[in-house]
Symmetry: C2
């Protein structure tokens, strides 16, 4: 479960996190808007995800049903941590500071985050 999920694979995971289990064809259809992939490509990605043990497939008649084996939150946490570690020395404050500066946080964003922080305080 420690293998990295590539970019293309991640797009497939997002579909499965939204709804599962799905057949390969259904996943492919769900991706049509965003990526211009052939069904074969999607199947390859699904097979690789199964190989990485982050997706399970169970036979359903002649086809497979795919479902995620890792929860999205865990993935998001892992990737966020990676970024914070690599670019901000593991500290969250500099990240927020950076986003605040470069991203033009709207007043509403700021209000939201403040409310969130307030709720966290003892």
């Amino acid at each position: 479960m420690a293998d990295r999920i590539s970019d293309a694979e991640h797009a497939v995971m997002e579909v499965l996190w939204r709804r599962a289990p799905l057949t390969a064809t259904e996943v492919s259809e769900a991706l049509e808007e965003d990526r211009d992939w052939s069904l074969q490509t999607v199947k390859t990605l699904l097979a690789r995800l199964v190989g990485k043990k982050v997706v399970a497939h169970e036979a359903d008649g002649r086809r497979y049903l795919y479902r995620p084996l890792v929860v999205r939150d865990a993935y998001v946490a892992h990737e966020s941590q990676r970024l914070v570690d690599r670019l901000f020395g593991g500290r969250v404050t500099p990240l927020v500071a950076h986003l605040a500066e470069t991203q033009q946080l709207s007043d509403q964003d700021i209000a939201e985050i403040e409310a969130l922080l307030k709720a966290l305080k003892p």
Copy 2:
């Protein structure tokens, strides 16, 4: 300038962002603590970075001096944006919310971020 910087390449960039210009040997020495790379490996990475036009090299006698062509802030901004886009639908607040939950922000972290946000308000 749009080529992605790989993980290993990023380690080299960090060295150059800290101090530049440097020779390949100096970069290699600076990396000794963190990565167990041969000089040749570092040279390969430098060459690739030059190929990607994110590092420049200028001859200095028989060797080259390497210096970054992109500023760290731009890279950090780009990577942060990528993560926010991919995992949080482009919105910063959910990222902060997520980090707040999973990262056990200390009281001090919270205080820092609050101060930072206060400073941003009109």
